[in-house]
């Protein structure tokens, strides 16, 4: 059976490692990302109290694909969707690649990130319904209840639904 392609950014990747979901979700889904997110995940500050160590080999083995994003893709996205100016590099590169590939909103799934700007920007491009949560992926992948319960609040389905509703109602941005 063909795996569903899932595109993830740095925060999701780190949380999947922190909670031990990584291998399970990679077995269930075709996880893809961009070079910048891989770089960010592997170059966090080890001195930071919240730092999560990512094993580079395990990360790369789990990925179904990683994509290089060039200046053209970035320029295309930012000049056509100015709200993307407010995104951090990893989020920006991921959206730029998806924008250029014209893959969304049909059938594919994009994960949301810890702060709201990426969700707002994704909504502005018209892909709000393409977003899903790490909780959803983890449950679909058959991880333990303990691992699902270990997910931080903003990786949960309820959190994503709440933010999505606020965007639809115009409460944010």
């Amino acid at each position: 059976m063909v795996k569903t392609r899932v595109f993830i950014d740095t925060n999701i990747l780190i949380e999947a490692f922190r909670t031990g979901c990584w291998t399970a979700i990679c077995n269930k889904f075709a996880i893809e990302t961009v070079d910048k997110c891989v770089e960010e995940a592997l170059t966090g500050n080890p001195e930071d109290p919240g730092h999560i160590h990512i094993d580079g080999d395990v990360l790369l083995e789990g990925l179904a694909a990683r994509h290089e994003v060039g200046n053209r893709e970035l320029a295309n996205l930012v000049l056509s969707h100015p709200s993307c100016h407010g995104l951090d590099d990893g989020e920006l590169h991921l959206l730029a690649w998806l924008h250029t590939q014209n893959l969304l909103p049909d059938a594919l799934v994009l994960l949301s990130t810890a702060d709201k700007a990426a969700i707002v920007a994704t909504g502005n491009i018209g892909w709000l319904d393409s977003l899903t949560s790490l909780e959803h992926l983890a449950q679909e992948s058959g991880v333990t209840h303990g691992q699902v319960n270990a997910l931080a609040r903003h990786y949960r389905a309820d959190w994503l639904n709440e933010i999505r509703l606020k965007i639809r109602l115009g409460v944010i941005p």
């Binding site: 500050n45 930071d48 109290p49 919240g50 200046n71 053209r72 970035l74 320029a75 295309n76 930012v78 000049l79 056509s80 100015p82 709200s83 100016h85 407010g86 995104l87 951090d88 590099d89 990893g90 989020e91 990130t113 810890a114 702060d115 709201k116 700007a117 990426a118 969700i119 707002v120 920007a121 931080a152 609040r153 903003h154 933010i163 965007i167 944010i172 941005p173």
Partner: protein
């Protein structure tokens, strides 16, 4: 509006990058395959939007990262600074700090724009020139105390009034300091449509207020008498400083110690009592030496009392160190992240902080974290 602003900002950066490379508009037009110099001129003036392919060509031609043109908080080619710094502070250290401060100011400008906080088209200015007398500068300061309704102790509400009534943001920041104690006291940053004052929040209180009043002078007279990129904050250099700086110092002294306040607070029967005068200096949040010179220049004191007062120690006061940046800046930053206009990680990078430190900044201003860690 934001799209137009971006176009304008990109234009500034194109011009700065082209000039930095020593290219003419004709040469850039040719490299980008544009029909003539006028097209480049239109891009630089924000009248013509760049197409994605043109932006990539531009980035390659001028050998600049794409981020240079697209960074929201970039002020390169626009911002001009005047720093008040120790003579011993190395130039490259100051340049490095200027880059960091530029990010704060770029972020501040973007936040103001997002909140539709349009700059006042009637920019406030003091009607003074480098030929003005010290008495003129003092008279303007005395008038400003009344116009801003600063009251008997002008220092207390000065920062708030500068922000609210003069539309000049004031940021209290942690600056650099060398092991020998060389540091930056403050700065004025001048952009086309906004001035910003930076103050080293760790300075002693009296110096902080004096710097604020001094930098206000620069912010209000920038167009008429642009200050040097760097000036000394050393007491020893006071006699050597240029006329513009002397005007700024006279202005600052009168702003913090207007005659009406001196009449109100000083018991003239005790004009030679340095203990009484040092107490008044503490009430006004100025240094005894500053009050000594102000009263001497007003001919209220003789040389002997002036010198004795100048030797008095600063009395402790209870105002404490200001919170980092300013309440209005941190509020806007908080709202922007909370509303999803700005990624928390991008905000943290612009602030030169980690996400944890950003949470600490919000906590310092009694705000909950607008994002999850």
């Amino acid at each position: 509006m934001f799209e137009n602003l971006s176009q304008k900002l990109i234009g500034y950066r194109v011009k700065a990058a082209r000039e930095s490379a020593g290219w003419t508009q004709d040469r850039l037009a040719e490299a980008m395959g544009l029909k003539d110099r006028q097209s480049v001129s239109d891009i630089e003036n924000g009248k013509r939007a760049l197409k994605p392919d043109e932006l990539v060509l531009l980035s390659d031609a001028l050998d600049r990262e794409l981020a240079y043109f697209l960074d929201l908080f970039q002020v390169a080619g626009e911002a001009q600074f005047s720093w008040r710094a120790s003579p011993g502070l190395a130039e490259d250290s100051l340049d490095g700090f200027e880059l960091r401060a530029g990010q704060w100011i770029g972020l501040l400008r973007w936040l103001r724009e997002k909140e539709q906080n349009r700059p006042n088209p009637l920019k406030h200015a003091l009607r003074l020139t480098a030929q003005s007398s010290y008495e003129d500068a003092i008279a303007r300061a005395e008038s400003l105390v009344e116009a801003l309704d600063l009251g008997i102790v002008p220092a207390e509400r000065l920062a708030e009034k500068i922000e609210q009534d003069l539309d000049i943001p004031v940021l209290y920041v942690d600056t650099i300091e060398t092991p020998d104690g060389d540091s930056i006291s403050g700065a004025t940053c001048h952009l086309q449509d906004m001035g910003v004052i930076l103050i080293n929040r760790s300075e002693p209180e009296a110096r902080r207020f004096f710097d604020l009043a001094h930098e206000l002078f620069h912010a209000l007279t920038w167009d008429a008498m642009k200050p040097d990129h760097r000036e000394s904050n050393s007491v020893e250099d006071r006699a050597k400083i240029k006329r513009v700086e002397q005007l700024a110092n006279n202005f600052a002294a009168a702003l913090l110690m207007p005659q009406a306040s001196l009449v109100n607070l000083i018991d003239r029967r005790r004009i030679d009592d340095t203990d009484h005068l040092a107490g008044v200096a503490a009430q006004l949040h100025v240094a005894p030496v500053a009050l000594a010179w102000r009263l001497f220049n007003l001919k209220w004191l003789g040389v002997e009392t002036r010198n004795a007062l100048a030797q008095e120690h600063q009395r402790p006061t209870a105002t404490g160190t200001p919170k980092r940046f300013s309440p209005s800046f941190v509020d806007m930053l908080h709202r922007s992240i909370d509303k999803g206009h700005l990624s928390a990680r991008k905000a943290a990078k612009a602030m030169g902080a980690s996400l944890t430190q950003l949470v600490d900044l919000f906590a310092e201003h009694s705000l909950p974290a607008p994002f999850e860690l």
